[in-house]
Symmetry: C2
């Protein structure tokens, strides 16, 4: 049992009981995705940003059933590689509904995507732009801005995007090369808690829209990226508040001349829809004097929980029995492999039942995003995470 609340805080009424029932007699670990929640999250976003076109970020969870459900809802798709393009085409998703959102592309992959019918490409460098011009003539391109103000994640987020001066030059060049300079994009960082980050980025977009207008280039679209949150241990605002604020920022900057808006949610659509069911392999104390236990689960960093690196994502974790505070002890949570790095939480101490036993089930909630597809192909011989879907 985790100290922040109980499962009902994260799940619908009766859902936890249904998950437990589903898990009976099933070999652990596995990820169970509630497709109904996926739909509801999509609907919620659609309702709160009615003017936006939604491109689901496939990388967050590429499970075919998830793609099908979202395709039926009318979603578009942000794809990262030709492999994702192929999977989606095989599921019957039309190429017009895909955006090639990765700014790091091989020239042959651009050619392949264009040949299949994709005409919307992200870019952030001259070299990528030239490749698009050669292989996807007259395609629409949008330019990814470097996100400046993402706080602690700043150094990492420099991987994607370019500074406004570079973007300005790229837009001019795109036009000259016969491409359609279509819009701008940015990404404030996944699971972004500071809504003000969108304000800064939108203001930067407005500035570029205006200065490019002066150069006779009229951009049509802003891609707000992802960053909307899932419900982990630390509190976040609701999608409603995010949407309201973002809408206000857009109106302040663009007034009646609102450009077309695209969003690329991944985590916020599938995160809350997944639960990983795991089992306690072993409980041990390192010395007779230690006050806490080491709990070893049958899933770890390399079986799907890679986002526990640096303990960055803190999943809500529960067991079958919900105890009172006085029956809880602090534990360290580690994975099953022989890798010493395979420890999920050592600094942030989860609290679990004092009388937890080996063989007991452990439920890792809000685990629908960035888990199954990340899992290692066979580290320590362990097969990739099994995925089931259901409707609850």
């Amino acid at each position: 049992m985790e100290k922040n609340g109980d499962p009902s805080h994260y799940l619908k009424p009766g859902e936890f009981e249904s998950i437990k029932k589903f898990a009976e007699n099933k070999k652990t670990p596995f990820l169970l995705i509630n497709l109904k929640t996926v739909e509801e999250k999509y609907e919620e976003l659609e309702k709160n940003l009615p003017y936006a076109k939604i491109y689901y970020a496939v990388k967050a969870n590429p499970e075919p059933e998830v793609i099908k459900v979202l395709a039926n809802k009318g979603s578009n798709f942000d794809v990262a590689t030709v492999f994702e393009i192929n999977s989606l085409l095989a599921l019957g998703v039309a190429p017009e509904r895909m955006s090639f959102g990765n700014t790091i592309k091989k020239e042959e992959d651009i050619a392949y995507a264009f040949e299949k019918g994709i005409t919307l490409f992200a870019t952030d460098s001259e070299s990528d732009l030239m490749k698009i011009a050669r292989q996807a003539p007259q395609a629409k391109v949008f330019f990814r801005l470097l996100s400046d103000g993402s706080g602690a994640d700043w150094p990492l987020s420099r991987k994607f995007g370019a500074h406004p001066d570079v973007i300005f030059g790229l837009a001019l060049k795109a036009k000259k090369l016969g491409l359609i300079p279509y819009g701008l994009s940015f990404h404030v960082g996944s699971q972004q808690r500071d809504i003000g980050q969108w304000d800064d980025a939108i203001a930067q977009c407005k500035y570029l829209f205006s200065s490019l207008e002066d150069a006779d280039i009229s951009l049509k679209m802003i891609n707000l990226g992802g960053g909307f949150p899932s419900d982990y241990v630390q509190p976040t605002n609701s999608i409603e508040i995010y949407a309201k604020e973002i809408t206000r920022f857009l109106k302040e900057d663009f007034g009646e001349n609102m450009p077309q808006i695209i969003v690329e949610p991944g985590r916020s659509i599938v995160g809350d829809a997944g639960v990983i069911v795991s089992e306690v392999i072993m409980i041990s104390r390192k010395s007779t004097a230690n006050h806490y236990n080491w709990i070893y689960l049958d899933i770890g960093k390399f079986g799907g929980l890679i986002e526990t690196i640096d303990e960055s994502i803190k999943y809500p974790i529960f067991t079958d029995n919900q105890r009172q505070k006085q029956d809880l002890i602090e534990v360290i949570l580690a994975g099953p492999t022989c890798d010493s790095m395979d420890i999920m939480y050592e600094n942030y101490r989860y609290q679990m039942d004092k009388d937890l036993k080996e063989g007991d089930k452990v439920y890792i909630l809000t685990a629908g995003a960035y888990t199954a597809s990340y899992s290692s192909v066979c580290f320590n011989g362990i097969p990739p995470l099994q995925v089931y879907t259901t409707r609850l």
Copy 2:
């Protein structure tokens, strides 16, 4: 080209040319394993520690061809899971040559291993010991000591092992339960540069051998674990020096009554035997004022280079053209996925040819250990790392 030397420092004469030839017209990325080097590394260790029984740590690289080559050489095998046991049995490795080295085991997995004929088990907790006693009666058990002095890695290495006072109790209990308290093990940490770490651990073993002798338990074996190095960017001592020092420590503590010695090399056997051949997807500058380039490869943290987390393992990296110092510039190396964490080296600046182009090949040396099996099953849709073997 990396600043520390050139490929000939890491490879045999002519080997780099052969690798380049092998890579012609092959789709990147892939890992190429030189089976001859695997054999040579095994022979070198055997020659330098003639009294030791070698148990290859399968997790380092479970490629069937590697296992077969080592099995033919007479190696034994340290296995982490029932999945590894099954793979090895399928390759014809006898169960008597396997040691179940993972201290985190499900009871059903112990039963399965024992039923298949494995009778040597690592343990470090009472609960695991009880499971072994129930499922593998009269098996040999060895007890893993917590490694105290592993310096910077200390907090992480606490995942495995127990303090001597706990081990002492476990040995007594094992005897009472009808098991054979057979020996001790420790692991000084992978790629351990400080040979003195073995001295401390061996002294601790001696202390436990003596105190258990007084309790009528006569241990027979010490498992020195792994930790022998591969040849990365930072200099290390040769296996010869490691072996000489470790032999001296053993003689100092045990004199003529040397116990049976086991070693569990993984990295030191296969690390040097592998090269990852990759391709430059894109080169970009983030602003017009930046002095360095971002080089994006078609392999990254999630495609097999997970040991670049925190830039801990620094692979020797080369390109086709070996330039002079004045033709090199500092670069940041990143992977192909849409994940901002997928950056290999940002603080440690590799140096590469000023005129490196997209499509050029990049050779990541000493990449035979902890790469292919770690790669994600389909993150961003990308398939796991392709593996080839050869003899050079």
